[in-house]
């Protein structure tokens, strides 16, 4: 039983990180229908920026905030400069472009900071919450950060006019233009948010897996799985999907297939969901009357 609870908590913790990655993917997907293969590498790069800032003497939270802001600006920049000219390009060109970004960030990180792994600090104390070895402060902290971030995003999208404008632009771009919404900037904003959310995910996971240019590759696959399970067009669903994937991955890994096949499990989930229930389990079905 104790082992089960430990696995469950571990699953929720990694689930929180997958949820962040999934959320970033959804941000871009809802506004552009694109799947950003570079999401993981962007997150990794932002984490390196935080590491570099801590290295020159920034406090952890200072570096955290700066990295998130830099990631936001970077995401905005990528959309405006690199992707905007390809707005009407065929899918293949966009996929190639995302793969190019992935390669580029990976190589750039290796070039600037080398491919050797680095420890990354955690802001959470090495404390056991209940004193029985079940939940550590780090695990609680990771889940809390994810939940807080989701809360902020929910408020933003539901209760601010800018959030409303972003949703409108994603749903019906030409109609949004007729309401004065600068759609192209809304897409850029989506990219900025995605990058910022990714940065948070990267900084949460780096203390556990250590910092290296390839640290997000596997995590991105789980993020995909989470986003798809929850419905890639639905932020709340994606977060729930991330948690589900995290818990399943840990339980299936420790009880059924062993840790070595975990990535294949993620692959099976991705393909399975795409084939059986492309809208995901929480996929929003819009009711239409004609």
């Amino acid at each position: 039983m104790e082992f089960f609870i430990q696995q469950l908590v571990a699953g929720l913790t990694s689930g929180a990180i997958y949820a962040c990655v999934a959320l970033g993917l959804v941000m871009i997907f809802v506004s552009t229908d694109h799947i950003n293969f570079a999401q993981g590498e962007m997150a990794m790069f932002a984490t390196y920026l935080a590491w570099a800032m801590i290295d020159v003497g920034f406090s952890y939270w200072m570096a955290f905030v700066c990295a998130v802001l830099l990631a936001f600006v970077g995401g905005l920049f990528i959309q405006r400069v690199i992707l905007k000219p390809l707005e009407t390009a065929p899918v293949l060109s966009l996929v190639v472009c995302f793969i190019a970004l992935l390669s580029f960030f990976n190589a750039l990180a290796g070039m600037l900071w080398s491919f050797t792994i680095k420890p990354f600090p955690t802001p959470f104390p090495p404390k056991d919450i209940f004193g029985n070895g079940l939940v550590s402060a780090q695990q609680l902290g990771i889940v809390a950060v994810t939940v807080i971030m989701l809360g902020i995003l929910t408020v933003f999208f539901r209760y601010t006019t800018l959030g409303l404008a972003m949703r409108a632009a994603a749903q019906n771009a030409s109609s949004a233009r007729l309401m004065g919404v600068r759609v192209s900037w809304m897409l850029a904003l989506g990219w900025g948010l995605a990058a910022a959310i990714g940065a948070v995910a990267g900084m949460l996971v780096a203390p556990i897996v250590f910092l290296d240019p390839n640290m997000m590759t596997g995590i991105l696959v789980y993020g995909f799985a989470g986003a798809l399970v929850g419905g890639i067009g639905n932020p709340m669903g994606a977060v729930a999907g991330g948690f589900i994937v995290g818990v399943l991955e840990n339980l299936v890994g420790s009880y059924l297939i062993g840790n070595e096949l975990k990535l294949s499990f993620a692959l099976a989930m991705v393909v399975g969901v795409l084939l059986l229930k492309p809208a995901g389990i929480f996929g929003q079905v819009i009711v239409r009357r004609v």
């Binding site: 409108a168 007729l178 309401m179 919404v181």
Partner: protein, 237 residues
């Protein structure tokens, strides 16, 4: 009366296909102009071209300002509200959110709140459905929502694309009655595209007849109403 919208030599293309040929069009301040013609005459294209939603050439002057090179968003922000073909409903947003979307370009929040009250006064049905997902509204309600959304932009000119399309006669009458009210009370000028010529002629004071992307004739609506040959040839009644 001064012109609120002056269009000179407007041409437009869909991909390689040319849909408009050197169209000239003037809308008087406070007036209602109807754009009539058969399917494919270029009526919708004209509205889209005025808002720069398609490849176009020619000059558009709105309230003395050359807006030919403006983006759709900026044209809208200047005060041209378009009720698009197919109603452009944000199906996943609530009725309330569909209307509040205009808030992000309105600086006068108090004024905007009053406009929202006005929309609900004009269309009480929308108020009943305020929290409902807009995709679940009936066609007539979605048309009302589209007019309401355009009204929320505090426009000085409204471009309406077939507000009667696919609706029951009673609802059509209701909508046209309200459009008249908007025109009179809010002093909003209008350019209205219609298949239902008789209906449009009731509302409009000026008419343009379009055929295959060109203006065939134009004049006060009384003139067209009383010219039987014109009516028979182009309007089918």
């Amino acid at each position: 009366m001064a012109a609120i919208l002056d269009v000179k030599g407007l041409s437009a293309w869909y991909g390689p296909i040319r849909a408009l040929y050197d169209l000239d069009l003037t809308i008087e301040q406070g007036g209602v102009t109807a754009l009539l013609g058969a399917n494919g005459a270029g009526k919708t294209t004209t509205l889209r071209a005025i808002c720069n939603m398609t490849r176009r050439a020619g000059t558009t002057t709105f309230d003395g300002k050359d807006i030919s090179k403006f983006t759709t968003e900026d044209i809208v922000r200047l005060g041209i509200g378009q009720v698009p073909e197919g109603r452009g409903t944000f199906t996943g947003l609530s009725v309330d959110e569909n209307l509040r979307l205009a808030f992000h370009i309105r600086k006068d929040r108090a004024e905007a709140m009053r406009d929202m009250d006005l929309v609900f006064e004009l269309f009480p049905r929308l108020k009943e459905r305020i929290k409902q997902q807009a995709g679940t509204l009936s066609g007539g309600e979605q048309q009302m929502l589209a007019v309401g959304r355009a009204l929320m932009l505090a426009p000085r000119l409204m471009l309406l694309d077939e507000p009667s399309f696919g609706l029951a006669p009673l609802i059509v009458q209701e909508i046209f009655r309200i459009l008249k009210r908007i025109n009179v009370e809010k002093k909003v000028s209008m350019l209205i595209v219609e298949q239902n010529a008789a209906l449009a002629l009731e509302l409009a004071d000026h008419v343009y007849l379009l055929e295959t992307g060109r203006v065939v004739t134009q004049g006060p609506s009384e003139l067209v109403k009383n010219d039987e040959t014109l009516r028979k040839a182009y309007l089918g009644y």
